[in-house]
Symmetry: D2
Subunit: 349 residues, 4 copies
């Protein structure tokens, strides 16, 4: 496959769940220079349901039952993987081996060995490997990172990252350790990215099932606070909860020797209403509302990479190594909860 | 020309200045179900410069020197007019007469007679006529309008609309009365839209050249405050200035018997920075930053109309009648400044 | 009467309505170096009702039926006048003639002749004369004034001042022109103070009875927007309404060649609440909540003057001349509404 | 000593350091119904320096070298203790034994045994014992507590309390464990108060000397994050740092099953400035600015208690038991840092 910088990025999507369907629509409609050429989903009819309404000037995206067939399609330049987490690594490896650029939703892997395998496959094939840490592309988080990079907070000393999801529809369907491996992994990446150049060295986690305590015995953890010590001295907290009554709440804060920067806004818009009840305004309810622009821009960066363009800013595009670094913290959290003690990083690699 | 609801909207653009170029990029990249098929500009090479980089799956948009040729092109379903203001009416009429849907940048006309001519042409041809009052599509303004429509402020009593542009590069090139006809016309529409169902009955304007006083003798007015009385009793102010040091500042406020709603946010993002200098954060510098989403969504609504879909919300899409109503206020402002007295609406129609 | 800088300021209060009662409590409890020594009110028992609970270490404040008796009391160093507006000028003159420092609630006078009379009496007696434009002492308004004074907005071009009161309990009791003479007079002073060094030259007012339209025929105006042109080119609006559903709303804004400054916050505290209903927080409901600190600090400044101390910042303490300047605008508003045209200042002096 | 509800509270102050001097001024000037009758400080001349300028209508406060003499003074009804921390318990006990009401700055004690001793002395004497957790009286924190008490956040699940001081003038003078015993003890009380009815059961602390690392070997800890698990499942973090470049930063946040409430505002006033540099506004620089109202209102509550009035809201006034509960967490933090593990509460009592 040859890529010329000016060609259109022909993208195939694997996994047509709700975030997959949203990515499909983004690729079809909102990415200059990208086309959705195919959708793969093992469930009969699922790929068609997503592809049908997204017919573009080049016709309808093809539907596949087998991810392998989509990967093998010579008209697919890049693959977006949004299937269930446990399938990610194998699909990254297969796509990389086929010479395709890869965008994989987080988590890229569930073990460090798998993370290494994915990284190695991409490196060996020389393909672009990007991970779905979309928060890096949110305008306020990106602006915060810039302030940090320009020295606006000095040396980071205290960091915080928060993720609160708007609801827990089906507590019984949540796999054990999801809060660390799939939710807080965003926060771990954000903290690593904000505290660039530093390495986490110690992790302590407290977690519980407070939203749905009746599922705790089945392994549910829906609330957690993690403390992370970095080798530059900075101490960070990451916290998550699966059921925010007011919507989708993602915030970040970095405090250092020269100041503080914050990112994250709970309001849906700049509209404010004042009445006999006081001041009031709507809050953001869905991640695809709150991060609409970020979900678009991460795929703009991916499409640019597929078309042979360099990413606009290297440090913004999350790599396989970034996925591994966040995973290492998530795995330490699991150990910390299991052993009820702080975990030194490195010993669980 | 037959339109089926599922077809792609094939759009031609007239006028390739900077807002025209931005609309072209929006149509080419950010509008589901729309394609940019042509660009017309009388300046040799100008249309090509815009069209070239926007080559899509169906090839490169065609370039025309003559707007008439673009309008006549049978592969053009809808026309977006972003040429200089004085050309707008004739182009609306020509496009309507050719049976094309029309999106025209504000102001649609510079006289009420022209406004009536444009409205009549669209009505007679049965085509969709939409005006570029993009502010209606900004999320916070749209949310404010919803609150008003749902009774959240009760009966409007005091309204305010503000437009401050970030700079006045070439004061000598500003046509007389621009501040009313091209700038505040946005605010007049916003106020009419917020105070839906009411009719402006009296207008008083104070204006001056405070940014570039040396151009006042040549007719420049760069600062203005307009007071408008409506027939439901509400009193509104609209204010404009051509040179805000901090960027692009657009805000609205409606106060009524049950409360107040505000729209408009000066901050570029939700990022906040705190340092020894205090709290600080970047402001929005360009209208295409501040209204990026609004500029997209007004053309999404237009593309939907071209494809035969009804607009999502009738009251949101600005019509030829809305353009005429705003123009009537602008013309009264001119009379008010000339005669230094309040002007009753109706007498200058 | 001799004043030594270290003595306690012995203050007598005239008028024990609700703002009088609040001032009495402020003087008794919150002003270092001041003591409330007497209260005068012509209504039998009224002064006693205020004075009784405010017994201090020196005993209970004396009660008077006659203001003249309080003024004549040799143990009264300074007089605070908070009786009805029409009594203000005569009381200022009487107190000044008795050599007492005078703090008078706004408006100091209802005619320019009376204003001149008050100013002359204070000048002739060499006593301190201060007017109750408390907004100047509100921390955010004072900070805004500082930014302006330091050049932070450059040359003012557009100004705005807003007053919305929380309710109109008894529309029939409101004297004609109250909205200009007693409410917006605050805003006129604020605008003059923000635009220091400039002189208002033209005034246009629109006003109506929108809150209680049934009282319009009796002369009620409860809603108004005033436009003021200054001799430095700046154009200002002042707006008022007597019934804000959400509480007490006072805001200011100054825009100029180098930027903008705003003051005024609708929130009662920094607390914010987020729930399934979205974001919400209480608003300030009463002027004595919103301006608690300002009401205290204006009397701290007065007590300092009584004790022979210079005011901390000359430009902050509103003088008789400031009262006259604000009144001149209020009177022009009345003429403008009467004659339905802009009024040049000077012709109605 | 008999107390009648209407008498003036005669208050003596022990310790004339900077917070003592500030309390003295507050008592002398800002507390209705209170008088400062004496100041004790062992350093010759120190008490006089504070008392001199605070001469009131009853004359100059008396100065003492011996706290015992002040406590024994029959004209002292209540004692405010703001001497160094290690002296607090003995002074509380002495004042209680003398039948005086006691206000003691935090920490009331440095060991649980001392805390018990102070509580027992006050109980045995039947005197009011109040601790200087002023944050409870800050308007936004108090409003947040109200929202929680009314069920506005449902069951608390995640809490956060932050204290960042504006500077670390003399790192060498900071006693070991100050960050837990004197700084974060505020946050521990705030968290306990917000999560009323729950009991902390597990504590984990990470701390370091990041501001002044050269003093770490001498025992300095200037940065800390503490995680606390409560017996209602809620998990809290408390964080502190001794050197915020932007001023004094105190914030709280409580998230629960029904929503979230936040308190704390970094801005000095509601003024906002916009210029070519963007948006900017001053931040609060000193705790006596940020908490001016809270420092006053805690002493208003104390004076009310001295005069025999019940506190306005029982749950707002911090008791000896509250001081003990916060201390228990601080001591667990010390153990956690020493042993580098989570500490179960109870075992270190």
């Amino acid at each position: 496959m040859t890529i010329s910088p000016q060609s259109v990025a022909r993208i195939g999507l694997i996994g047509s769940g709700w975030i997959g369907a949203f990515h499909a629509e983004t690729i079809a409609h909102r990415i200059p220079g990208a086309t959705l050429v195919g959708v793969a989903d093992p469930q009969p009819g699922a790929a068609e349901r997503v592809a049908g309404p997204l017919t573009g000037p080049l016709g309808e995206p093809r539907a596949y039952l087998e991810a392998a067939a989509l990967i093998a399609d010579p008209e697919v330049d890049g693959v977006v993987i949004s299937s269930p987490a446990f399938t990610h690594t194998d699909l990254v490896v297969a796509a990389a081996n086929a010479g395709k650029s890869v965008f994989v939703e987080k988590p890229m892997a569930l073990t460090l060995a798998d993370a290494d395998r994915a990284i190695a496959a991409a490196a060996s094939a020389g393909v672009h490997l990007q991970v779905g840490f979309n928060r890096r592309f949110a305008r306020d988080f990106a602006a915060a990172r810039e302030v940090i990079a320009q020295g606006g907070v000095g040396t980071p000393q205290l960091l915080r990252s928060v993720t609160r999801d708007p609801g827990l529809a089906n507590p019984g369907a949540v796999k054990p350790w999801t809060i660390f491996l799939e939710t807080l992994i965003h926060d771990f990446d954000t903290l690593n990215w904000f505290n660039a150049g530093a390495r986490p060295v110690e992790v302590f986690a407290m977690a519980d099932a407070l939203v749905a305590p009746e599922f705790k015995s089945a392994g549910l953890l829906d609330t957690a606070i993690v403390t992370i010590r970095y080798n530059n001295g900075a101490i960070a907290t990451a916290e998550a909860n699966f059921s925010a009554a007011y919507g989708y709440d993602v915030r970040g804060e970095v405090f250092g020797s020269a100041g503080m920067v914050t990112a994250g806004d709970l309001h849906a818009t700049g509209m404010r209403h004042y009445s006999s009840a006081g001041a009031q305004s709507p809050t953001a309810r869905l991640n695809i509302d709150l991060f609409h622009q970020a979900y678009t821009d991460e795929l703009v960066a991916f499409a640019d990479a597929v078309r042979g363009k360099a990413p606009r800013r290297d440090s913004q595009v999350p790599s396989g190594h970034d996925a591994r670094a966040a995973l290492e913290i998530a795995l330490a959290c699991i150990a910390s909860v299991d052993e009820q003690r702080p975990i030194a990083l490195g010993q669980h690699s």
